[in-house]
Symmetry: C2
Subunit: 450 residues, 2 copies
Amino acid sequence: MEQLVLDDVLAQIRTALEENDLATASSVIEALRPADQAEIFADLDDHQQTALLPQINPADAADIIEELYDEEAAELAVQLPLSTLVRIVDEMEPDEAADLLDDLKPEQAQEVLARLEAAHQVKHLIDYPDDTAGGLMTSAFLFLQRRWTAAQSIAAIRAWHPDEETIYYLFVTDRLQRLAGLVNLRQLIVADPKTTIAEIMEPDVIYVTPDTDQEHCAELMLRYDLLALPVVDAENKYLLGVITIDDLVDVLQNEASEDIQRLGGTLPLDRAYLDTGILAITGKRIGWLLILFFTATLTGGVMAMFQGTLEAVVALSIFIPLLIGTGGNAGSQTTTTIIRAMAIGDVEWADGWRVFWHELGVGFVLGLGMGIIAFILAMVWVGDLQLALAVGISILCIVTWATSAGSLLPLVVARIGIDPTVVSGPVMSTLVDATGLFIYFTVATTILRL
Amino acid sequence: MEQLVLDDVLAQIRTALEENDLATASSVIEALRPADQAEIFADLDDHQQTALLPQINPADAADIIEELYDEEAAELAVQLPLSTLVRIVDEMEPDEAADLLDDLKPEQAQEVLARLEAAHQVKHLIDYPDDTAGGLMTSAFLFLQRRWTAAQSIAAIRAWHPDEETIYYLFVTDRLQRLAGLVNLRQLIVADPKTTIAEIMEPDVIYVTPDTDQEHCAELMLRYDLLALPVVDAENKYLLGVITIDDLVDVLQNEASEDIQRLGGTLPLDRAYLDTGILAITGKRIGWLLILFFTATLTGGVMAMFQGTLEAVVALSIFIPLLIGTGGNAGSQTTTTIIRAMAIGDVEWADGWRVFWHELGVGFVLGLGMGIIAFILAMVWVGDLQLALAVGISILCIVTWATSAGSLLPLVVARIGIDPTVVSGPVMSTLVDATGLFIYFTVATTILRL
């Protein structure tokens, strides 16, 4: 829905709430689509949320809770009467319900769980970490038997009235409930009603185990264009649950947005930006800022080392920001390009040397171009041939070095098991600062014979 | 499939190709899943690709071409005999076929089009830009009529044997072929066979027009958890095509990876990294590097302005990298956080002032902490109280300034229509460099009474 319309709806609900007209407020919100309901709801004050939620029908309330940030949902849940909370949780997807209960106090979670209709579906999901296949999967799925016919299967689907997301791929199990194959709904409809599932199923199914990392699940679903991914017990291949495409899309969005935050040198936020307190945001940033600060003292150390040189030719200092800035930028360009190539599978560890030579070439060409421009600039600015030569040659060396080193950095850190987005950007600049200055002063002392 | 297995398969195919055994090579590749086929295929040399592709059955060849980068696919297509190319293009999804033909020379595209079986489905897609709804949509879809019964509709689906992606959402049209509603396959199966489509369809359908930007399409599908999005004629609401979830996932991945590259200050690559030449990569980077270089001369200008100060107290220069580095890092942290909050809809233009005050608070707390640490560091390092005070106060001011300015930058540039990822990272650092130095020298000359 368009933003302007949503703003109107929000104003309407706020007015109703101020007049204590909960019935109007809840009927207005119930008429919206889930994503719009959640957006409107998130914009209300905390006490308005707590007052309104019990009045909204449980299915819509469940949708709203599912769309909120985990922390916000848990804070809201704590405020609700137990009976209301139970009614809402019963309408949630089992995987989302498990995530929510996991964020509550253990006593409260137990109380809710004891009263849930679908307790058996939720209970065994609670223990899996949120960012694994076990945490993403739903246990509310229908499985077909190999010996059933297409007609029997369709009858089972009708009787089961499943959720939309879990129906397009139907997984087939053998008598011991082990994963045996996959049929998609289209095949089932197109098939002769008397055909057995065993005849039309695809036996070679891609699956994961509950401890598989969510990023790997997303990669598999993306790579093979899967609408659903089965999760099986590692030992016996029992079918435990199914990850659906809507969960994958959320994972992808979150990972992309977390990567962007990490590239900027900050830990990802856990909740909506404007609801995150100043101290919480500061906490997410100060760690990196301090690490980078102390790394930057290295650069200060290099400056101190060459203080004699600086005292002799103060004009040298004018070019410091230019040189280390350009080096840092060239390095960041390379690391982000390589991180992206690694993410889409274009580049891997085994390509290391090819990547290095490639970037060495790029760095040299870039460095030569930038060096010539810097030389001209220095001649115009300071008018000293030797100084201009020192600046130009330094840029050539720094850019070549930053580019080629920047190509290996993400590959090496990924190899030792660190997310390369974390060490890119700021770390790269800080490291290039110190080495770049060292190169500059060395070249300058040589050429200027200091 | 695991990487090691794929490497084995690649070696097997290479051996077969060296022995000119095209039959073995093609049967090995045909046994793989499409994504694996494409990965293996992309690793072969150009002449091997050209020799092998005509031997692979057209449906698999079409999958391979669809998975390649656009430029690579076009280069390969040019090498193929016309009859082979026509057979392959006929197996491609109409939207992918249109993209490929659009990348060929007009004469060649015309020749292929003239011989295609599905020419009518492809022809009208060619003119839409790749990054719009028109470029993403497929025209191979089935639409239902309102007066049909569920049983009739299922019979139509069986007769049509559609592709997997286009079947889960079925769009309903009225007699004039205008979009009238949506039925999903699950509703169709669960419904009484005699119910008419008009009774079960959802009449309020979210749709786009052909010129809608692909990012907006992705946002809508994500927000409302849609598996398919109909594209209609802006004037008459004629149903023109359907965008499916697999296309959306590709868009999301590309946008995320392009954002990451832009944050690093480089234009996104058009093809696989290792296949992109050194000069092409240089071309993607030199523009930004030059812009940032000339912006950095501003910083050099500030240094030149305060050369007298620097000559008087050379020790001041030791702290320059530390100060401007910390300012740049603090600014990047803020811009990336805000860019992410904007991307997921947490923050928009109207929140500008709230965001600014929020970040002013964060910046002050961060700056205070970093300032105290910097003061202690400077006391230990240089042992001059006034200098240490100048450094500490400068850090406080620079971090507060970089953080609060960094919060508005993405909002302002997005407002004037520029992608905020482009101006974040490097631009932020470069701007903070100059202003940070100015702050430092001003504070230092005041405290040290220079």
